[in-house]
């Protein structure tokens, strides 16, 4: 049903600038597969977290001072003297972690259900770009409080670029704005940390345009055959997303109010000191799997290439996965490799937090090999030799079918 209203003002505006029909079209009547599971909640959660980060970030920026002599003290000023400053700052710091949790789950959802396959490749690329921008934003944000981990994390990560042949040192100097991580570095990181989230907003908009072109995928991975397979976004998914948001905010509130520093590192409550290197320099938890890949490789350049490669490889995924079936649900062999892949990512996260020696190093190496083999060997091959289970004829059918199955439970086994 097209957008309709009796309000004359809204009509007048909409005739000239169709914002109301647009919102109606994409948030209310937008036809959505009726069989989405709760794994489909994480996209809207990610969008909400982006808004939370921007709103809290703008308030923080009103009180924060990007200068090496004042940054740490200004964050403490926020924590102690600004009204509800502690709340805003803990929301922002923990919000970054929540944002990553949500986005990681969102990505694994895509990997399992083949969301990157035709015709959603560009939608997938835009998602990978968002991930890269988020990582850059969070990395630079972590530098802003100018604690020990801020400083040494920045030093280690920016130094990685010196491994680039020929231009490496120039890149590092450019990142630093000088010859070490210092005030110019902090200033440019603050500037970019303020800017990039808005770039993310732009890419998210494109992500949604691409999404709405062909509509959401679904757990069965089959296309919708007709109107009986769809329901309007509102009220069905608005209320489902709101329920998911409530559950997620309870989870968020737990960290925020009862363990606000558990996801951070104690060393970041020590002001940055270029003369004292912390015993263990560890990045934020959401970078640990990538960090483990970096350190699994004995060669610096090789480590850097694999670390960035581990994300860039996602751009090739639509072609690496040769199966024509989207959903992992109908792919008995893929499914098993997929869960091992999840395990490998978790193992990398664990190993990234340990000193790179002995067992953690061995585990990170095995997991790194599996990580790349999954994309470069397993997905292309499994797509060839695997015999997928038969796909249902339509989205509506298995829902009806489930009822029939219940009526004749013994048939399959007999």
């Amino acid at each position: 049903m097209a957008f309709q209203t009796n309000n004359r003002i809204i009509k007048w505006i909409d005739y000239r600038l169709p914002v109301f029909s647009f919102a109606h079209h994409s948030l209310i009547e937008y036809p959505t597969p009726k069989n989405l599971s709760y794994w489909w909640n994480f996209g809207s959660l990610a969008g909400i977290m982006l808004v939370v980060q921007i709103v809290t970030g703008i308030v923080l920026a009103m009180h924060y001072t990007p200068h090496v002599d004042h940054a740490f003290a200004s964050v403490e000023h926020i924590m102690r003297n600004v009204n509800y400053g502690w709340l805003i700052r803990y929301m922002h710091a923990n919000g970054a972690s929540m944002f990553f949790i949500v986005v990681f789950i969102h990505i694994f959802r895509g990997l399992y259900y083949g969301s990157y396959k035709s015709p959603r490749e560009v939608l997938w690329f835009l998602g990978v770009i968002i991930l890269l921008l988020m990582m850059a934003t969070a990395f630079m944000g972590y530098v802003l409080p100018w604690g020990q981990m801020s400083f040494w994390g920045a030093t280690v990560i920016t130094n990685l670029f010196s491994a680039v042949p020929y231009v490496g040192d120039s890149i590092v100097t450019l990142l630093w704005g000088g010859f070490s991580v210092d005030n110019p570095t902090l200033n440019r990181f603050f500037s970019l940390h303020y800017l990039l989230p808005f770039v993310i907003v732009g890419v998210v908009a494109l992500h949604l345009v691409a999404l709405h072109q062909h509509g959401s995928g679904n757990p069965l991975g089959i296309d919708r055959k007709g109107p009986q397979d769809s329901i309007p976004f509102h009220p069905y998914y608005t209320v489902k997303d709101l329920f998911g948001l409530g559950v997620f905010f309870i989870f968020f509130a737990f960290w925020l109010f009862y363990a606000p520093n558990a996801l951070g590192h104690p060393d970041n409550y020590i002001p940055a000191n270029p003369l004292v290197t912390p015993a263990h320099i560890v990045p934020e938890w959401y970078f640990l799997p990538f960090y483990a890949i970096l350190r699994a490789v004995p060669d610096k350049l090789g480590g850097v290439v694999l670390m960035f490669g581990s994300i860039l490889i996602l751009f090739l995924l639509p072609w690496l996965d040769t199966s024509r079936v989207r959903s992992g649900r109908f792919r008995p062999i893929f499914k098993q490799f997929f869960w091992v892949f999840v395990l490998a990512c978790l193992a990398l996260g664990w190993a990234g937090a340990q000193p790179p020696e002995g067992l953690p190093l061995a585990i990170s190496r095995v997991a790194t090999v599996y990580y790349f083999a999954y994309f470069l060997v397993i997905l292309p091959l499994v797509g060839w030799f695997e015999r997928p289970r038969p796909l249902p004829a339509s989205i509506s059918e298995p829902v009806l079918g489930a009822g029939k199955m219940a009526a004749q439970p013994a048939r399959e086994k007999a």
Binding site: E76, R80, F243, I250, P266, Y269, P298, V399
Partner: protein
């Protein structure tokens, strides 16, 4: 400087943690204790925190600053306005310049930050055999397992094992990273006389000053705990409503 950073980065990337590992060294895990401020309903034990302030003021303040605290913050620990004024007035701070362009000394007022024992880090090192007594404002959050660690550290000095060499100027403390610390045992029994009659054992003083330091590091903990409880309760009710509505709306699908 740059070379130094590259060296650090290289050492760390190649996984040779030799230097760092030595610095971090072995250290005994701090035993867990129960604290008034832990748990979702935790609050600061005002009496302990006030006694802890006394320990800080009479013992630790000789070497350690707490520069993020102002005297007025002590109101949160239950000191009256008059008491805070009197505490502040015990210190002389530098102010100025006045109309003649001169800096001058005046008694501190509640709005002033806690006076630091040393003019700068160099002076602090000079007075402490080259070691820097860190600012204690955030120390309870700047160490893993902060409160337990502080208590263990402050009450954990003892004789080193026979084969453990402790150089001149350092002291054996199994809870400190590397087990050799430049701070002499700061607490001796009855180092302070508590006005409320509590026996000032080393354990008691360590407990009290830790409570004070936790408050110094996280002064909004009580607000956080109580707001968190209300927010989560509200979210549970709201989410329950959303769930009910969701069930209702979806009843006709399938």
């Amino acid at each position: 400087m740059r070379k130094f950073m590259f060296a650090a980065v290289a050492a760390f990337l190649s996984g040779t943690f030799a230097l760092a590992a030595q610095a971090a060294g072995e250290q005994d895990p701090a035993p867990s204790r129960s604290w008034s401020f832990s748990g979702p309903f935790g609050t600061y034990d005002r009496a302990a925190a006030q006694r802890g302030f006394q320990v800080y003021k009479e013992v630790c303040a000789a070497c350690h600053s707490v520069k993020y605290l102002a005297y007025r913050n002590l109101r949160d620990l239950g000191f009256s306005e008059a008491e805070v004024k009197a505490i502040a007035a015990q210190y002389e701070v530098t102010d100025g310049p006045n109309d003649d362009g001169e800096m001058f000394q005046r008694p501190a007022v509640p709005a002033d930050r806690f006076k630091s024992p040393f003019a700068n880090d160099k002076a602090a090192r000079a007075a402490n055999g080259g070691a820097l007594p860190p600012d204690l404002s955030l120390i309870a959050k700047a160490r893993p397992n902060g409160a337990n660690y502080l208590h263990a550290l402050l009450s954990g000095y003892r004789e080193p094992p026979a084969d453990f060499a402790v150089p001149e100027g350092l002291h054996y403390n199994p809870y400190f990273a590397g087990k050799r610390i430049a701070m002499a045992p700061p607490l001796n029994a009855d180092a302070v006389t508590y006005a409320d009659g509590t026996q000032a054992s080393v354990d008691q003083m360590a407990h009290d000053v830790t409570t004070f330091l936790m408050w110094a590091a996280e002064p909004k903990l009580e607000d956080r705990h109580s707001l968190g409880f209300k927010v989560i309760l509200f979210l549970i009710v709201l989410t329950g409503l959303f769930y009910a509505v969701k069930r209702k709306v979806w009843a006709d699908v399938h």
